[in-house]
């Protein structure tokens, strides 16, 4: 009987559980995606200048992603704390790192789908031109940024899961921490869009920052998630 149930098995089961719950309840698809689209439209109202919109489209996409991430994380942990399921997983001695990786993977899948939708919205609403040579940069940027955001979100979501005032504490804790992702992803995306004459080659150093960020918080989460949800 393996006492500390292995990380891989726990992560797979937790990720599958989270995604199945989402497919069954469709809360993220029916509420968070429309919310993100709405945010993009409201940016257009606020900025109200086509050249400006095209120029800053990269930043707006990632801002909409950040706001949606907060809601996705709150939903992800609401599912677990509703009937004491997170507590049950902890009480059952599941490897906390496995729970962390599992939940982060589920968030990643939802976040990537959301980002694809947002990029399509950017092309339509903000008249952004996607170029073939920028595509590779864009994909790597999206993957590494999404990984970083999911790890940070799951980490701070776990910390605030049980406590009172968690709705307001999560953004306060999380948003400053993801500042490098916002800066890096936006610069990389702008290079991919060649907005404001930014060359594609300028984007790669920023992808480096995103990869380091994702690695740091991936490892940080695996090591510390257990002690964060421990009573």
């Amino acid at each position: 009987m393996s006492t500390q149930l292995s990380l891989g098995r726990v992560a797979r089961a937790v990720a599958a559980k989270d995604l199945r719950i989402e497919m069954r309840s469709r809360v993220v698809v029916n509420q968070v995606f429309p919310f993100a689209g709405l945010v993009m439209v409201m940016f257009a109202f606020a900025l109200d200048n086509d050249d400006v919109l095209t120029r800053v489209a990269g930043g707006l996409v990632w801002l909409a992603t950040l706001f949606s991430l907060i809601i996705i994380i709150q939903r992800s942990f609401a599912v677990d704390t509703a009937d004491g399921a997170l507590e049950a997983q902890r009480v059952a001695g599941l490897d906390p790192a496995g729970i962390f990786v599992g939940k982060a993977l589920a968030v990643m899948v939802q976040l990537v789908t959301l980002e694809i939708m947002l990029f399509v919205a950017a092309v339509v609403l903000y008249r952004v031109q996607l170029h073939a040579d920028g595509a590779v940069l864009l994909v790597t940027c999206v993957v590494s940024a999404t990984a970083g955001l999911s790890f940070v979100g799951t980490l701070y979501g776990g910390l605030t899961a049980g406590s009172r005032g968690r709705e307001t504490l999560l953004p306060l804790l999380m948003l400053p921490v993801v500042a490098p992702v916002l800066i890096g992803a936006t610069r990389a995306t702008e290079s991919a869009f060649n907005s404001g004459g930014a060359a594609v080659s300028d984007g790669w150093p920023w992808v480096g920052v995103l990869v380091v960020f994702a690695a740091v918080f991936g490892l940080g989460g695996i090591l510390s998630f257990g002690s964060l949800i421990e009573e």
Partner: protein, 212 residues
Amino acid sequence: MSIVVDFREAVVVFNGFPALAEASIEVQRGEIVLLQGPNGAGKTTLLRACAGLLPIVRGEASVLGVDLCIDRQSVRSRVGLLGHANGLFADLTIGENVSFWAQMVGAKVAEVASTLQRFGIDGRLAEQKVMQLSAGQKRRCALACLVVRRAELWLLDEPHAGLDATARDEIDAIIREACTAGATVLIASHELERARGLATRSVSVVAGRVVS
């Protein structure tokens, strides 16, 4: 190794308040011990302490041979704690909930099917979402998760709360069957006449102390 729970004057503290004030208790394998006593006396705290969730501030405490003062993690996978919350995923069906826990210990699909069948929550019912179930069915599903997870020590906090008579009989049958299969059970309950029929022994918990 027949002693499953061995507490000697264990103290557990919540913000300065001694929820367990030098509690001592010894439980053998296969026993069904009833913990009775007034609310706030420390019954729930004792169960949570046995599950390795609470730091032992003073005294000694060991469960299934593991000293809780040193390591409160490794014993958890062999212990099942069922409180007022069932720990289920409302959006998933009974089958999906039970197989989530089965995956954790690598139990085979056949084992899941036989457990569901024994608990009377198989067939069409297994496809029902947990949110649509009655309290009794949810409680049976939660117990099925314990069985599938092969918990050796069951810690049940008011297992009969909110159940009608038939549902309570089913829960008692499940608990008896688990004991014959080698599990040990601690029940904290107010349903004294029902629980006494079920329990092999009963102790009272008063003001954070166990009085047998």
